[in-house]
């Protein structure tokens, strides 16, 4: 685990040196700040818009950072050939993948914290301090982002960057729409199709589980039980992604 931690810190520092991270972060902060332009609206509507824009920005730009960091984590090491001396040391490939995952999760965490601080300052300016539901929403977004990053990392162990990029974005969209697929599936009568659909429903990550922002902004309260179950879902899925990543990375000739 100590070795994985060294790789994690290295990944974190490496990501901090990349301009992409700062560009995305600055753009995200500008977008969150721009939500203040809605001051011509009624106070209640303005607050809703600030929350909507901020939550969505944290999620969207966080997803971009998660995907790009994960893409660079494996292919970057291979391209620069830094992976060869690394793997020649007593570091297992599973240590490498776990370390990379922890490192990119730290970057995601930093990004979420910075954007959230900015968002919370805006809420204080509007004299509406954040409630516990706001923190639950941000926390679930963070778990979702780590999951997105872990899947991108797993795919990076066997696929090209171009494929991985398209796949990750495609999965992001499908993962948010899978719930609708489920309701359509209930109307399917063909047993084979239904079975195939059920399988896909289980295999494809249901990102909509983590999406409580649209409800929280309109005053719906979310129980800790729901948050707990969703976090557990995220952890299990991240574990699956890591196992698959390690499996393919072990098979890869590097």
């Amino acid at each position: 685990m100590k070795k994985a931690w060294v790789i994690a810190l290295n990944t974190f520092q490496e990501s901090l040196r990349k301009k992409t991270f700062y560009i995305l972060l600055v753009v995200a902060l500008i977008v969150i700040g721009a939500s203040r332009f809605f001051s011509f609206l009624a106070a209640e509507d303005e607050l809703k818009m600030i929350k909507d824009v901020s939550f969505s920005t944290i999620e969207f730009f966080g997803a971009l950072i998660a995907i790009f960091t994960a893409l660079a984590a494996v292919s970057g090491e291979i391209e620069k050939r830094t992976i060869y001396p690394l793997l020649s040391k007593p570091i297992t490939r599973s240590n490498f993948i776990i370390g990379k995952l922890i490192g990119q999760s730290l970057i995601i965490l930093l990004n979420v914290i910075l954007m959230s601080i900015f968002f919370i300052v805006l809420l204080f300016i509007k004299k509406s301090p954040p409630d516990i539901e706001t923190f639950k929403t941000v926390f679930l977004i963070f778990i979702e982002l780590v999951l997105i990053g872990s899947i991108t990392l797993a795919v990076a162990t066997f696929a090209t960057d171009a494929f991985n990029l398209i796949f990750s974005f495609f999965l992001y969209i499908v993962g948010h729409l899978i719930s609708y697929g489920k309701s359509l599936l209930e109307r399917v009568e063909n047993v084979v199709l239904k079975g195939l659909g059920e399988m896909l429903y289980t295999v494809i990550p249901n990102y909509e589980n983590f999406n409580i922002k649209d409800k929280v902004v309109v005053g719906v309260n979310v129980t800790w039980q729901y948050v707990g179950q969703t976090v557990l879902y995220g952890i299990i899925y991240i574990a699956i992604a890591v196992l698959i990543g390690v499996y393919f990375f072990n098979k890869r000739e590097v």
């Binding site: 011509f40 509507d45 969505s56 297992t92 409800k215 309109v218 039980q225 557990l232």
Partner: protein, 326 residues
Amino acid sequence: MNRKLNQILLLIAIFLYIPLGLLQVKINYRRTIENLESRMLLMPGQMAGSLILSGFRGIAADLLWLNIEDFWHKGQHYKMLPLFDAVSWLQPEYVTVWAVGGWHMTYNIFANVSSGIDNLKRQLETIKENLSDSEKKKMLPVLNIAEEAKAIQDGLTSYYTHGLTEKERPVVIAKLTAYEKKLEEMGDENNKEIMDIVKKLVEIPREQIMWYERGVNFLKKGVSYNSEKYDVYFELGWTYYHKGQDYPNAVKYLEKAVKFPHPAYVDNVLAHSYELNGQPDKALEQWEKQLKEGNFTNIAERAIRCIKQDGAFNPKKRKELGLDPD
């Protein structure tokens, strides 16, 4: 790592899908009972839009709301209608959209429909004055319809009138439809100018009732999505109370509103509704509750005194009882 161990890792990964699937069932259950489902009904044609909006429905609703604000300030009420449907479809728990949408239909569009009525009335009076006695006699059935339509329209807009309950509205609509039919049968061989004005006079209250009902139905739909908050119940109750003067329904929805945490003025509106619905005892109880809770104490004290002394506090009720003559 040897090949066998690697395969075990893959098997564990596959095995983990079992608890994941079971957990998803639990999450789905919790999403349903905690009202976290998006409730968007997807039609095949809406799939593309939903792909774009996946996970960002709030932002989409906000962008549409900005359009509503724009149309609102430009006075383009009709353009807002599809947007209200779209925003409420994207975020049905956003109570403002139901409240504002219902208000636009029952107040702004309602008023907009009748904007030219005074002009029509004046035109009709001028034409009538210039008619010969024989022409007046010939046009009498048409002029009578105009008077009836004007009376119905006055009843819809004035606070001191009877108003129209849910049961009465279809009767009035049927009456106006019959007038329209009658006017059609009379044809244009009569004075065309008068016929055109009277047709419009009949059309206006009919359209106003239609917009009032559309607004009420919109609010009722809002209630079905927000049954655990006072907001839309109050908007619906207020619309019945103030615009429709339909007091049984006003009491029904305001009683539901006060079951949830609400501002103190909601209790005042309920007290007035009780009075106008012929329930002075309940109105008294409501004002006493306000007094006890320290809300609007001056008004509550006056209301209690008036109800006990005169049997009425609400201005409309007092007028009905002849307590405050003009």
